[in-house]
Symmetry: C2
Subunit: 215 residues, 2 copies
């Protein structure tokens, strides 16, 4: 019974996500769903990305959080349209929340939409929002064992960032072994090594984003 | 309707948790529920704690993970009884899973049970397992904004560890401001600054544990 209910919920979510995707396509907006553990660097990556794309691509942001407008306030300082979704306890965004957020964004004025999901390596992987690409961030202090423990998200993402590479000298993280495990779980994934503090590797990531936009 | 169902689930969980607690009490086992983001250092704290308590207190471990026996294998090397719970996709442990695990532990031979919950700052806070104390770990690279974004867990825990203080020189983390926010959300909480790499602060944490055991 429990499984049946879950299937129904996921089925309904999938239909709504499809509608969101059609709306985005009709307005010419490319959307990514950005997922990670709490504190892996989603907001800092968004800030770096907005700055690199300034003058080239018009970016809009959806900020997903349990409560608070902490990240939305930080991002809004970059003068881009931002909508905050507070899930009110839910541990992930879903297509229904995404639909409400899309109704509150000036989609005609946006080329690229970045959705910052709730910090969580489990549930966000199960709920499509209508995005074109799923992107995941792992940070080096989290340790290189995460793909073994949260395989679904690693398996499903299109693009993957290893963030906080500036901390590599101070933490136990075997970046080659980690990369091998991630590509073993997910052959198609593109991996970028970045530091949102020093800016290292951000150009390559932004090039990938721009390539997706032109597709 | 949705809220009603959630209330029923939480109510049923609470009843089972109470039974687990009674079982633990009848066997004289003190139990803590250890929660954090993925990679904050739960397993390393468990290893440090087992080593410090060796010869003084008999420790048993429950390892909660989505899938894999990664952590259980690491902990088992310390020659303590370990039971792995694989949640099969669920983003938190619940009292029902805990009950099965307790049936597979030699409770008569244990003084203290440490339950490592699934790495997640959201859902584990809502599900009692039957533990005597809730303990949370935050690590410095995650950033000092987490209490604003995941308030429920910070609000409910009895004891709180700030881990990876060896990385303080390399990350942006205002430990005094963070501590003020945490104690603002949770007056009763006891806070420990530790490094599971250097061992700094572990003695104070273990003293707290021993004090709880004697209560």
């Amino acid at each position: 019974m429990k499984i049946k209910v879950l299937k129904d919920i996921l089925g309904a979510n999938e239909q709504l996500a499809q509608k969101n995707r059609e709306l985005l396509d009709s307005k010419g907006v490319f959307a990514i769903n950005l997922m990670s553990s709490p504190g892996a660097g989603k907001t800092n990556l968004i800030l770096q990305t907005i700055r690199k794309l300034k003058g080239k691509v018009k970016v809009g942001i959806i900020e997903g959080d349990i409560s608070s407008t902490w990240d939305a306030e930080i991002v809004a300082k970059e003068n881009v349209p931002v909508v905050q979704i507070n899930t009110g306890g839910e541990c992930h965004l879903d297509a229904n929340m995404m639909q409400s957020a899309l109704n509150n964004l000036p989609l005609k004025e946006i080329d690229m939409l970045i959705i910052e999901n709730v910090g969580n390596l489990v549930c966000p992987a199960e709920f499509a929002l209508g995005e074109h690409k799923k992107v995941m961030i792992s940070s080096t202090p989290e340790g290189d064992d995460k793909p073994h423990k949260y395989p679904l998200m690693f398996h499903d993402v299109d693009s993957f960032l290893i963030n906080k590479i500036d901390l590599l000298p101070y933490v136990k993280f075997d970046i080659d072994a980690f990369t091998r495990v991630v590509t073993g779980l997910n052959e198609k994934v593109e991996i970028f090594q970045v530091s949102c503090v020093t800016g290292q590797g951000i150009d390559k990531w932004v090039s990938w984003l721009l390539k997706q936009l032109k597709k």
